[in-house]
Protein backbone atom coordinates (compact mmCIF):
# COMPACT_ATOMS: atom_id res chain seq x y z
CA UNK A 1 0.00 0.00 0.00
CA UNK A 2 1.20 3.44 -0.87
CA UNK A 3 2.41 5.69 1.89
CA UNK A 4 -0.36 7.28 3.91
CA UNK A 5 -0.88 10.93 2.91
CA UNK A 6 0.10 13.45 5.51
CA UNK A 7 -3.42 14.74 5.66
CA UNK A 8 -4.77 11.41 6.82
CA UNK A 9 -2.06 11.14 9.46
CA UNK A 10 -2.90 14.61 10.74
CA UNK A 11 -6.62 14.04 10.73
CA UNK A 12 -6.16 10.82 12.66
CA UNK A 13 -3.90 12.49 15.21
CA UNK A 14 -6.41 15.26 15.75
CA UNK A 15 -9.34 12.89 16.00
CA UNK A 16 -7.54 10.96 18.69
CA UNK A 17 -6.17 13.93 20.60
CA UNK A 18 -9.30 16.10 20.50
CA UNK A 19 -12.30 13.91 19.77
CA UNK A 20 -15.60 15.62 19.02
CA UNK A 21 -18.16 15.23 21.82
CA UNK A 22 -20.19 12.07 21.41
CA UNK A 23 -18.02 10.76 18.59
CA UNK A 24 -15.03 8.48 18.55
CA UNK A 25 -13.07 7.21 15.59
CA UNK A 26 -10.01 5.03 15.51
CA UNK A 27 -8.18 3.53 12.56
CA UNK A 28 -7.53 -0.15 12.09
CA UNK A 29 -3.96 -1.09 12.74
CA UNK A 30 -3.62 -3.02 9.51
CA UNK A 31 -5.42 -0.45 7.37
CA UNK A 32 -5.05 3.12 8.43
CA UNK A 33 -7.67 4.22 5.93
CA UNK A 34 -10.33 2.15 7.65
CA UNK A 35 -11.89 3.60 10.79
CA UNK A 36 -14.15 2.18 13.45
CA UNK A 37 -16.56 4.91 14.45
CA UNK A 38 -18.92 5.25 17.38
CA UNK A 39 -21.57 7.97 17.48
CA UNK A 40 -23.72 8.49 20.54
CA UNK A 41 -27.37 9.17 19.82
CA UNK A 42 -27.94 12.92 20.23
CA UNK A 43 -29.82 14.06 23.32
CA UNK A 44 -33.44 14.84 22.49
CA UNK A 45 -33.55 12.55 19.48
CA UNK A 46 -35.14 9.09 19.38
CA UNK A 47 -31.60 7.74 19.24
CA UNK A 48 -30.67 9.17 22.64
CA UNK A 49 -28.97 6.62 24.83
CA UNK A 50 -27.91 4.58 21.82
CA UNK A 51 -24.38 3.96 20.70
CA UNK A 52 -24.11 3.52 16.95
CA UNK A 53 -21.21 1.77 15.29
CA UNK A 54 -20.15 2.83 11.84
CA UNK A 55 -17.35 2.04 9.46
CA UNK A 56 -15.56 4.76 7.58
CA UNK A 57 -13.19 4.21 4.69
CA UNK A 58 -11.01 6.77 3.00
CA UNK A 59 -10.71 5.92 -0.70
CA UNK A 60 -7.44 6.40 -2.58
CA UNK A 61 -8.71 9.66 -4.01
CA UNK A 62 -9.52 11.12 -0.59
CA UNK A 63 -9.84 14.07 0.00
CA UNK A 64 -10.81 14.67 -3.61
CA UNK A 65 -13.40 11.98 -3.07
CA UNK A 66 -15.73 11.67 -0.08
CA UNK A 67 -15.08 9.05 2.59
CA UNK A 68 -17.32 6.01 2.42
CA UNK A 69 -19.39 5.66 5.57
CA UNK A 70 -21.91 3.03 6.60
CA UNK A 71 -23.86 2.26 9.76
CA UNK A 72 -23.02 -1.13 11.21
CA UNK A 73 -25.60 -0.85 13.95
CA UNK A 74 -29.17 -1.23 12.79
CA UNK A 75 -31.01 2.05 12.92
CA UNK A 76 -34.55 3.13 12.13
CA UNK A 77 -33.93 6.32 10.19
CA UNK A 78 -35.40 7.56 6.89
CA UNK A 79 -31.99 8.38 5.47
CA UNK A 80 -30.32 5.10 6.37
CA UNK A 81 -31.24 1.91 4.58
CA UNK A 82 -31.25 -1.73 5.74
CA UNK A 83 -27.62 -2.17 4.79
CA UNK A 84 -26.59 0.89 6.77
CA UNK A 85 -25.97 3.00 3.68
CA UNK A 86 -26.45 6.70 4.28
CA UNK A 87 -28.12 9.36 2.20
CA UNK A 88 -26.32 12.55 3.05
CA UNK A 89 -25.40 15.28 0.58
CA UNK A 90 -21.90 15.90 1.90
CA UNK A 91 -21.07 12.26 1.29
CA UNK A 92 -22.17 12.63 -2.32
CA UNK A 93 -22.45 15.64 -4.59
CA UNK A 94 -21.89 18.18 -1.83
CA UNK A 95 -18.56 16.71 -0.84
CA UNK A 96 -15.76 19.24 -0.67
CA UNK A 97 -12.12 18.47 -0.01
CA UNK A 98 -12.23 21.09 2.72
CA UNK A 99 -14.44 18.74 4.71
CA UNK A 100 -12.81 16.18 6.97
CA UNK A 101 -13.54 12.98 8.80
CA UNK A 102 -14.49 15.07 11.81
CA UNK A 103 -16.92 17.25 9.89
CA UNK A 104 -18.49 14.26 8.18
CA UNK A 105 -19.08 12.58 11.53
CA UNK A 106 -20.53 15.77 12.95
CA UNK A 107 -22.87 15.91 9.95
CA UNK A 108 -23.94 12.35 10.69
CA UNK A 109 -24.59 13.24 14.30
CA UNK A 110 -26.72 16.12 13.05
CA UNK A 111 -28.55 13.79 10.69
CA UNK A 112 -29.56 11.70 13.69
CA UNK A 113 -30.98 14.81 15.33
CA UNK A 114 -32.80 15.88 12.18
CA UNK A 115 -34.03 13.01 10.01
CA UNK A 116 -35.08 14.18 6.58
CA UNK A 117 -37.99 12.04 5.33
CA UNK A 118 -38.30 14.21 2.21
CA UNK A 119 -35.04 12.89 0.81
CA UNK A 120 -35.32 9.27 1.85
CA UNK A 121 -33.15 6.28 1.31
CA UNK A 122 -35.28 3.83 3.27
CA UNK A 123 -38.58 4.49 1.54
CA UNK A 124 -40.69 2.50 4.00
CA UNK A 125 -39.22 4.26 7.02
CA UNK A 126 -39.63 7.64 5.35
CA UNK A 127 -43.26 6.84 4.56
CA UNK A 128 -43.90 5.89 8.16
CA UNK A 129 -42.13 9.03 9.27
CA UNK A 130 -44.24 11.26 7.04
CA UNK A 131 -47.52 9.60 7.92
CA UNK A 132 -47.12 9.29 11.66
CA UNK A 133 -44.03 10.90 13.02
CA UNK A 134 -44.79 10.05 16.65
CA UNK A 135 -45.16 6.36 15.87
CA UNK A 136 -42.05 6.36 13.72
CA UNK A 137 -40.06 7.98 16.49
CA UNK A 138 -41.35 5.41 18.90
CA UNK A 139 -40.11 2.68 16.57
CA UNK A 140 -36.77 4.44 16.31
CA UNK A 141 -36.51 4.52 20.12
CA UNK A 142 -37.43 0.87 20.25
CA UNK A 143 -34.72 -0.05 17.74
CA UNK A 144 -32.23 2.07 19.63
CA UNK A 145 -33.01 0.07 22.80
CA UNK A 146 -32.86 -3.18 20.90
CA UNK A 147 -29.79 -2.81 18.69
CA UNK A 148 -27.75 0.17 19.81
CA UNK A 149 -26.72 -0.69 23.34
Amino acid sequence: MAELPKRIVKETQRLMSEPAPGISASPHEDNLRYFDVMIQGPVGSPYEGGCFKLELFLPDQYPMEAPKVRFLTRIYHPNVDKLGRICLDVLKDKWSPALQIRTVLLSLQALLSAPNPDDPLAEDVAKAWRENEAAAMATAREWTQKYAQ
Binding site: P5, K6, R7, K10, E11, Q13, R14, S17, P63, M64, K94, S96, P97, A98
Partner: protein, 424 residues
Protein backbone atom coordinates in the same frame (compact mmCIF):
# COMPACT_ATOMS: atom_id res chain seq x y z
CA UNK B 1 -33.60 30.19 -19.91
CA UNK B 2 -37.00 29.37 -18.60
CA UNK B 3 -37.27 29.61 -14.87
CA UNK B 4 -39.70 26.72 -15.02
CA UNK B 5 -37.10 24.24 -16.13
CA UNK B 6 -36.09 21.55 -13.76
CA UNK B 7 -33.17 22.10 -11.48
CA UNK B 8 -31.13 19.52 -13.24
CA UNK B 9 -31.56 21.14 -16.61
CA UNK B 10 -30.78 24.58 -15.49
CA UNK B 11 -27.73 23.27 -13.78
CA UNK B 12 -26.52 21.73 -16.99
CA UNK B 13 -26.97 24.88 -18.96
CA UNK B 14 -25.32 26.78 -16.20
CA UNK B 15 -22.25 24.75 -16.79
CA UNK B 16 -22.38 25.32 -20.48
CA UNK B 17 -22.94 28.99 -20.00
CA UNK B 18 -19.94 29.35 -17.82
CA UNK B 19 -17.75 27.36 -20.09
CA UNK B 20 -18.52 29.80 -22.83
CA UNK B 21 -17.76 32.71 -20.60
CA UNK B 22 -14.14 32.10 -20.04
CA UNK B 23 -11.62 29.32 -20.31
CA UNK B 24 -11.92 27.37 -17.09
CA UNK B 25 -8.28 26.48 -17.01
CA UNK B 26 -7.22 30.06 -17.10
CA UNK B 27 -5.04 30.87 -14.17
CA UNK B 28 -4.01 34.33 -13.20
CA UNK B 29 -1.66 32.86 -10.66
CA UNK B 30 1.30 32.05 -12.79
CA UNK B 31 1.13 35.26 -14.75
CA UNK B 32 2.01 38.66 -13.37
CA UNK B 33 5.75 39.28 -13.27
CA UNK B 34 7.71 38.88 -10.05
CA UNK B 35 8.77 42.20 -8.67
CA UNK B 36 7.97 43.82 -5.40
CA UNK B 37 4.72 45.45 -5.99
CA UNK B 38 2.15 45.56 -3.40
CA UNK B 39 -1.14 45.22 -2.31
CA UNK B 40 -4.10 46.57 -0.67
CA UNK B 41 -5.00 43.35 0.95
CA UNK B 42 -2.36 43.88 3.54
CA UNK B 43 -4.89 45.22 5.93
CA UNK B 44 -4.41 42.57 8.50
CA UNK B 45 -0.71 42.67 8.68
CA UNK B 46 -0.22 44.34 11.94
CA UNK B 47 3.50 44.17 12.16
CA UNK B 48 5.23 47.00 10.52
CA UNK B 49 8.03 45.08 8.94
CA UNK B 50 5.65 42.58 7.53
CA UNK B 51 5.58 43.24 3.83
CA UNK B 52 2.35 42.51 2.12
CA UNK B 53 1.80 39.84 -0.49
CA UNK B 54 3.08 40.49 -3.92
CA UNK B 55 0.02 39.91 -5.95
CA UNK B 56 -3.28 41.41 -5.31
CA UNK B 57 -6.54 41.02 -6.95
CA UNK B 58 -8.73 43.99 -7.47
CA UNK B 59 -12.23 44.06 -8.73
CA UNK B 60 -13.11 46.34 -11.44
CA UNK B 61 -15.45 49.04 -10.36
CA UNK B 62 -17.41 49.21 -13.53
CA UNK B 63 -15.56 51.82 -15.46
CA UNK B 64 -13.80 51.60 -18.76
CA UNK B 65 -12.21 48.16 -18.94
CA UNK B 66 -8.48 48.11 -19.38
CA UNK B 67 -7.32 46.38 -22.55
CA UNK B 68 -6.21 43.17 -20.86
CA UNK B 69 -9.69 42.28 -19.73
CA UNK B 70 -10.82 41.74 -23.26
CA UNK B 71 -8.21 39.17 -24.01
CA UNK B 72 -10.19 36.52 -22.24
CA UNK B 73 -13.05 37.02 -24.59
CA UNK B 74 -10.81 36.55 -27.55
CA UNK B 75 -9.20 33.35 -26.48
CA UNK B 76 -11.78 30.86 -27.56
CA UNK B 77 -12.83 31.44 -31.14
CA UNK B 78 -10.85 30.24 -34.10
CA UNK B 79 -8.92 32.76 -36.10
CA UNK B 80 -11.69 33.21 -38.58
CA UNK B 81 -14.21 33.92 -35.90
CA UNK B 82 -11.94 36.03 -33.89
CA UNK B 83 -12.49 39.33 -35.55
CA UNK B 84 -16.22 38.97 -35.37
CA UNK B 85 -16.15 37.81 -31.82
CA UNK B 86 -13.92 40.67 -30.89
CA UNK B 87 -16.29 43.20 -32.33
CA UNK B 88 -19.19 41.56 -30.71
CA UNK B 89 -17.59 41.46 -27.34
CA UNK B 90 -16.60 45.06 -27.64
CA UNK B 91 -20.16 45.85 -28.35
CA UNK B 92 -21.28 44.05 -25.24
CA UNK B 93 -18.66 45.75 -23.22
CA UNK B 94 -19.74 49.11 -24.45
CA UNK B 95 -23.31 48.39 -23.56
CA UNK B 96 -22.39 47.18 -20.13
CA UNK B 97 -20.22 50.05 -19.21
CA UNK B 98 -22.54 52.60 -20.61
CA UNK B 99 -25.27 51.16 -18.52
CA UNK B 100 -23.18 51.45 -15.43
CA UNK B 101 -22.36 55.01 -16.13
CA UNK B 102 -25.97 55.87 -16.52
CA UNK B 103 -26.82 54.18 -13.32
CA UNK B 104 -24.03 55.93 -11.55
CA UNK B 105 -25.31 59.24 -12.66
CA UNK B 106 -28.86 58.55 -11.61
CA UNK B 107 -27.82 57.41 -8.25
CA UNK B 108 -25.68 54.65 -7.04
CA UNK B 109 -26.41 51.01 -7.56
CA UNK B 110 -22.77 50.24 -7.18
CA UNK B 111 -21.62 48.23 -10.16
CA UNK B 112 -19.77 45.79 -7.97
CA UNK B 113 -20.84 43.91 -4.89
CA UNK B 114 -20.37 45.69 -1.63
CA UNK B 115 -17.23 44.52 0.11
CA UNK B 116 -17.33 42.01 2.92
CA UNK B 117 -20.92 41.10 2.24
CA UNK B 118 -20.99 37.59 0.89
CA UNK B 119 -24.53 36.67 0.08
CA UNK B 120 -26.21 33.36 0.75
CA UNK B 121 -26.10 30.73 -1.89
CA UNK B 122 -29.40 30.45 -3.69
CA UNK B 123 -29.28 27.53 -6.06
CA UNK B 124 -29.58 28.38 -9.71
CA UNK B 125 -31.11 31.79 -9.31
CA UNK B 126 -27.86 33.40 -10.16
CA UNK B 127 -28.04 31.63 -13.43
CA UNK B 128 -31.08 33.58 -14.42
CA UNK B 129 -29.34 36.73 -13.40
CA UNK B 130 -26.38 35.78 -15.47
CA UNK B 131 -28.40 35.34 -18.58
CA UNK B 132 -30.13 38.64 -18.19
CA UNK B 133 -26.87 40.37 -17.64
CA UNK B 134 -26.12 43.02 -18.51
CA UNK B 135 -29.59 44.19 -19.30
CA UNK B 136 -30.94 44.00 -15.77
CA UNK B 137 -27.91 44.90 -13.88
CA UNK B 138 -28.92 45.28 -10.28
CA UNK B 139 -27.30 46.45 -7.17
CA UNK B 140 -26.23 43.40 -5.21
CA UNK B 141 -28.46 42.30 -2.38
CA UNK B 142 -27.16 42.94 1.08
CA UNK B 143 -27.40 39.95 3.34
CA UNK B 144 -25.74 38.85 6.51
CA UNK B 145 -22.33 37.31 5.91
CA UNK B 146 -22.36 33.59 5.35
CA UNK B 147 -20.07 31.07 3.91
CA UNK B 148 -22.17 30.54 0.86
CA UNK B 149 -22.37 33.02 -1.90
CA UNK B 150 -25.05 33.76 -4.34
CA UNK B 151 -23.61 33.58 -7.79
CA UNK B 152 -23.27 37.12 -8.98
CA UNK B 153 -22.73 38.39 -12.45
CA UNK B 154 -19.34 37.48 -13.82
CA UNK B 155 -16.61 39.91 -13.01
CA UNK B 156 -13.35 40.07 -14.81
CA UNK B 157 -10.31 40.09 -12.67
CA UNK B 158 -6.78 41.21 -13.16
CA UNK B 159 -3.69 41.81 -11.12
CA UNK B 160 -2.51 45.31 -10.47
CA UNK B 161 0.41 46.65 -8.55
CA UNK B 162 -0.63 49.05 -5.84
CA UNK B 163 1.95 51.58 -4.71
CA UNK B 164 0.25 52.94 -1.63
CA UNK B 165 -1.75 51.18 1.02
CA UNK B 166 -3.47 52.27 4.18
CA UNK B 167 -3.56 49.47 6.71
CA UNK B 168 -7.16 49.26 7.76
CA UNK B 169 -6.64 47.86 11.28
CA UNK B 170 -4.25 50.68 12.09
CA UNK B 171 -6.96 53.35 11.78
CA UNK B 172 -7.67 54.87 15.16
CA UNK B 173 -9.09 58.04 16.61
CA UNK B 174 -8.63 59.05 20.22
CA UNK B 175 -9.09 62.18 22.33
CA UNK B 176 -6.13 64.48 22.61
CA UNK B 177 -4.86 64.64 26.15
CA UNK B 178 -6.92 66.95 28.28
CA UNK B 179 -9.60 67.59 25.68
CA UNK B 180 -12.54 65.27 25.38
CA UNK B 181 -13.93 67.21 22.46
CA UNK B 182 -10.87 66.99 20.25
CA UNK B 183 -9.82 63.80 18.54
CA UNK B 184 -6.66 62.84 16.73
CA UNK B 185 -6.68 60.51 13.77
CA UNK B 186 -3.81 58.07 13.31
CA UNK B 187 -3.09 55.32 10.84
CA UNK B 188 -0.24 53.40 9.27
CA UNK B 189 0.54 53.25 5.59
CA UNK B 190 2.89 51.43 3.26
CA UNK B 191 4.33 53.10 0.21
CA UNK B 192 6.60 51.81 -2.52
CA UNK B 193 7.16 55.33 -3.77
CA UNK B 194 6.91 58.76 -2.16
CA UNK B 195 3.29 59.65 -1.54
CA UNK B 196 0.97 62.06 0.20
CA UNK B 197 -1.91 61.49 2.54
CA UNK B 198 -4.88 63.81 2.68
CA UNK B 199 -7.70 63.57 5.18
CA UNK B 200 -11.19 64.84 4.42
CA UNK B 201 -13.99 65.15 6.93
CA UNK B 202 -17.61 65.05 5.82
CA UNK B 203 -17.20 64.80 2.07
CA UNK B 204 -19.17 63.73 -0.90
CA UNK B 205 -17.57 62.11 -3.88
CA UNK B 206 -18.37 62.93 -7.47
CA UNK B 207 -17.84 59.68 -9.30
CA UNK B 208 -18.56 61.11 -12.70
CA UNK B 209 -15.83 63.68 -12.12
CA UNK B 210 -13.00 61.23 -11.59
CA UNK B 211 -13.76 60.75 -7.91
CA UNK B 212 -13.46 64.41 -7.03
CA UNK B 213 -14.06 64.98 -3.33
CA UNK B 214 -16.28 67.85 -2.27
CA UNK B 215 -15.49 69.02 1.22
CA UNK B 216 -17.50 71.74 3.00
CA UNK B 217 -14.72 72.33 5.52
CA UNK B 218 -11.51 73.95 4.34
CA UNK B 219 -9.37 71.20 2.85
CA UNK B 220 -6.65 69.78 5.03
CA UNK B 221 -3.06 69.87 3.97
CA UNK B 222 -1.30 67.10 2.15
CA UNK B 223 1.11 65.25 4.36
CA UNK B 224 4.14 63.94 2.51
CA UNK B 225 5.64 60.51 3.06
CA UNK B 226 8.76 58.90 1.68
CA UNK B 227 8.93 55.40 0.32
CA UNK B 228 8.69 52.89 3.14
CA UNK B 229 6.61 50.40 5.04
CA UNK B 230 4.67 51.01 8.23
CA UNK B 231 4.83 54.79 8.21
CA UNK B 232 2.60 56.45 10.77
CA UNK B 233 0.27 59.32 10.05
CA UNK B 234 -0.71 61.30 13.08
CA UNK B 235 -2.96 64.28 12.51
CA UNK B 236 -1.04 67.54 12.92
CA UNK B 237 -1.95 69.84 15.81
CA UNK B 238 -4.02 72.21 13.67
CA UNK B 239 -5.91 69.42 11.92
CA UNK B 240 -7.50 67.63 14.82
CA UNK B 241 -11.15 66.73 14.71
CA UNK B 242 -13.24 69.03 16.88
CA UNK B 243 -16.54 67.36 17.56
CA UNK B 244 -18.16 70.72 18.17
CA UNK B 245 -17.66 71.48 14.47
CA UNK B 246 -19.88 68.49 13.70
CA UNK B 247 -22.63 69.00 16.27
CA UNK B 248 -21.15 66.51 18.65
CA UNK B 249 -20.14 64.04 15.98
CA UNK B 250 -23.36 62.09 15.52
CA UNK B 251 -23.39 62.83 11.81
CA UNK B 252 -19.91 61.38 11.51
CA UNK B 253 -21.26 57.96 12.36
CA UNK B 254 -23.30 57.43 9.21
CA UNK B 255 -22.50 57.43 5.57
CA UNK B 256 -24.79 57.47 2.58
CA UNK B 257 -23.69 55.26 -0.25
CA UNK B 258 -26.37 56.54 -2.59
CA UNK B 259 -25.38 60.13 -2.12
CA UNK B 260 -21.73 59.06 -2.05
CA UNK B 261 -21.24 61.01 1.14
CA UNK B 262 -18.81 59.79 3.75
CA UNK B 263 -17.83 61.16 7.17
CA UNK B 264 -14.16 60.45 6.67
CA UNK B 265 -12.16 59.88 3.53
CA UNK B 266 -8.42 59.38 3.42
CA UNK B 267 -6.71 59.61 0.09
CA UNK B 268 -3.16 58.43 -0.48
CA UNK B 269 -1.66 59.60 -3.74
CA UNK B 270 1.54 58.89 -5.56
CA UNK B 271 2.86 59.66 -9.02
CA UNK B 272 2.86 57.05 -11.71
CA UNK B 273 6.09 56.47 -13.60
CA UNK B 274 4.64 58.46 -16.48
CA UNK B 275 3.80 61.26 -14.07
CA UNK B 276 7.32 61.36 -12.72
CA UNK B 277 8.76 61.28 -16.21
CA UNK B 278 6.59 64.19 -17.22
CA UNK B 279 7.83 66.14 -14.22
CA UNK B 280 4.52 66.35 -12.41
CA UNK B 281 4.34 66.96 -8.69
CA UNK B 282 1.55 66.12 -6.29
CA UNK B 283 1.71 69.66 -4.97
CA UNK B 284 0.22 70.81 -8.26
CA UNK B 285 -3.04 69.28 -7.20
CA UNK B 286 -5.45 70.81 -4.75
CA UNK B 287 -6.66 68.29 -2.19
CA UNK B 288 -9.63 66.30 -3.39
CA UNK B 289 -9.40 67.41 -7.00
CA UNK B 290 -10.40 64.94 -9.74
CA UNK B 291 -7.91 62.10 -10.00
CA UNK B 292 -5.36 62.61 -12.73
CA UNK B 293 -4.13 59.98 -15.19
CA UNK B 294 -0.59 60.38 -13.84
CA UNK B 295 -1.66 59.75 -10.27
CA UNK B 296 -2.11 56.41 -8.60
CA UNK B 297 -4.14 56.59 -5.45
CA UNK B 298 -5.86 54.64 -2.77
CA UNK B 299 -8.90 56.09 -1.10
CA UNK B 300 -10.31 54.76 2.16
CA UNK B 301 -13.90 55.59 3.04
CA UNK B 302 -14.78 55.44 6.72
CA UNK B 303 -17.31 56.34 9.32
CA UNK B 304 -16.86 56.80 13.02
CA UNK B 305 -18.23 54.47 15.64
CA UNK B 306 -19.17 55.92 18.98
CA UNK B 307 -19.31 53.71 22.04
CA UNK B 308 -21.10 55.50 24.88
CA UNK B 309 -19.11 55.44 28.08
CA UNK B 310 -18.12 57.29 31.22
CA UNK B 311 -16.74 59.82 31.61
CA UNK B 312 -16.66 60.24 27.85
CA UNK B 313 -17.66 58.25 24.83
CA UNK B 314 -14.97 56.32 23.05
CA UNK B 315 -14.55 56.55 19.31
CA UNK B 316 -13.50 54.08 16.69
CA UNK B 317 -13.36 53.94 12.93
CA UNK B 318 -15.10 51.55 10.59
CA UNK B 319 -13.85 51.23 7.05
CA UNK B 320 -16.67 51.22 4.54
CA UNK B 321 -14.54 50.44 1.52
CA UNK B 322 -11.24 51.09 -0.13
CA UNK B 323 -10.75 51.95 -3.75
CA UNK B 324 -7.68 52.43 -5.84
CA UNK B 325 -7.19 54.47 -8.95
CA UNK B 326 -4.77 53.11 -11.50
CA UNK B 327 -4.45 54.16 -15.13
CA UNK B 328 -7.69 56.09 -14.95
CA UNK B 329 -9.64 53.11 -13.70
CA UNK B 330 -11.18 52.89 -10.28
CA UNK B 331 -11.11 49.51 -8.55
CA UNK B 332 -12.61 48.46 -5.31
CA UNK B 333 -10.36 46.54 -2.97
CA UNK B 334 -11.74 43.31 -1.64
CA UNK B 335 -10.41 41.23 1.19
CA UNK B 336 -9.04 37.84 0.48
CA UNK B 337 -10.51 35.45 3.01
CA UNK B 338 -7.85 33.58 4.92
CA UNK B 339 -4.92 35.80 4.12
CA UNK B 340 -4.69 37.17 7.64
CA UNK B 341 -3.94 33.82 9.23
CA UNK B 342 -1.30 33.28 6.60
CA UNK B 343 0.33 36.56 7.44
CA UNK B 344 0.35 35.60 11.09
CA UNK B 345 2.13 32.42 10.19
CA UNK B 346 4.75 34.34 8.31
CA UNK B 347 5.05 36.80 11.15
CA UNK B 348 5.58 34.18 13.79
CA UNK B 349 8.14 32.55 11.59
CA UNK B 350 6.49 29.25 12.31
CA UNK B 351 5.48 26.76 9.76
CA UNK B 352 2.52 24.47 9.94
CA UNK B 353 5.03 21.74 9.34
CA UNK B 354 6.56 22.00 12.78
CA UNK B 355 5.83 18.39 13.57
CA UNK B 356 4.61 18.68 17.12
CA UNK B 357 0.97 18.13 17.95
CA UNK B 358 -0.98 20.66 16.01
CA UNK B 359 -2.92 23.34 17.71
CA UNK B 360 -6.23 24.70 16.53
CA UNK B 361 -4.52 27.85 15.31
CA UNK B 362 -2.60 25.89 12.83
CA UNK B 363 -5.71 24.79 11.04
CA UNK B 364 -6.23 28.34 9.81
CA UNK B 365 -2.92 28.45 7.99
CA UNK B 366 -2.56 25.16 6.30
CA UNK B 367 -3.93 24.12 2.97
CA UNK B 368 -7.37 22.61 3.51
CA UNK B 369 -6.54 19.79 1.14
CA UNK B 370 -3.14 18.44 2.12
CA UNK B 371 -3.21 19.95 5.63
CA UNK B 372 0.51 20.33 5.55
CA UNK B 373 1.63 23.11 3.23
CA UNK B 374 0.84 26.74 3.99
CA UNK B 375 -2.00 28.31 2.03
CA UNK B 376 -0.83 30.49 -0.79
CA UNK B 377 -3.51 30.24 -3.44
CA UNK B 378 -6.80 32.05 -3.54
CA UNK B 379 -9.78 31.00 -5.59
CA UNK B 380 -11.46 33.54 -7.79
CA UNK B 381 -14.00 35.00 -7.91
CA UNK B 382 -14.93 33.99 -4.36
CA UNK B 383 -11.54 35.01 -2.88
CA UNK B 384 -11.11 32.07 -0.54
CA UNK B 385 -7.43 31.61 0.09
CA UNK B 386 -7.51 28.05 1.28
CA UNK B 387 -5.01 25.95 -0.64
CA UNK B 388 -1.38 25.50 -1.48
CA UNK B 389 -0.48 25.82 -5.12
CA UNK B 390 0.06 22.10 -5.86
CA UNK B 391 -3.25 21.13 -4.26
CA UNK B 392 -5.02 23.92 -6.10
CA UNK B 393 -3.65 22.59 -9.34
CA UNK B 394 -4.69 19.07 -8.48
CA UNK B 395 -8.14 20.30 -7.51
CA UNK B 396 -8.66 21.97 -10.84
CA UNK B 397 -8.13 18.66 -12.57
CA UNK B 398 -10.98 17.12 -10.62
CA UNK B 399 -13.53 19.82 -10.00
CA UNK B 400 -14.19 23.45 -10.64
CA UNK B 401 -15.77 24.23 -7.31
CA UNK B 402 -14.20 26.17 -4.50
CA UNK B 403 -13.59 23.81 -1.55
CA UNK B 404 -14.94 26.39 0.88
CA UNK B 405 -18.07 27.74 -0.79
CA UNK B 406 -18.52 25.40 -3.78
CA UNK B 407 -18.76 28.34 -6.08
CA UNK B 408 -17.44 27.93 -9.58
CA UNK B 409 -13.72 28.53 -9.84
CA UNK B 410 -12.78 30.89 -12.61
CA UNK B 411 -9.13 31.17 -11.85
CA UNK B 412 -6.52 30.75 -9.17
CA UNK B 413 -4.36 33.45 -7.72
CA UNK B 414 -1.11 32.62 -6.05
CA UNK B 415 -0.17 35.10 -3.38
CA UNK B 416 3.41 35.40 -2.28
CA UNK B 417 3.87 36.59 1.27
CA UNK B 418 7.46 37.70 1.50
CA UNK B 419 9.45 37.35 4.66
CA UNK B 420 10.60 40.69 5.99
CA UNK B 421 14.23 39.91 5.34
CA UNK B 422 13.62 39.64 1.64
CA UNK B 423 11.60 42.83 1.42
CA UNK B 424 13.05 45.55 -0.64
Amino acid sequence: MGAGQSRRNSNASNRRGNAANGPPGNSTGGGGGGGGGYPGVAQNQQQQQQPPPQYVQYWQAGQQPPPQTQQQLQQQPTQQQQQYQHQQSNGQQALYYMQNTQQNQRYVPSPYPAPFVPTPYVPYQGNVQQHQYPMQHQAPPTMPPQHHHQPIEPQRTQTIRNQVNLKKPSLAIAPVEGKTDTLRLTFTLDATSPCTATVFWGVSELREEKNKLMCPMPPLKRVHFEKGLGQVYSAPENELLRLSDYEGGGALCTHNEQMASYPLVIRLETLTQAGRDAGHSLDELSPGCPLQPWVQSQTTYCELVRTPGQPTDTWGIRVIKQKIWVNEVSYELQDIYGIESQSCAAKDGTSSDSGAIDTGDDAGRECVICMSEPRDTAVLPCRHMCMCAPCAKALREQTNKCPICRRQVESLLKIVVQQSSSAK
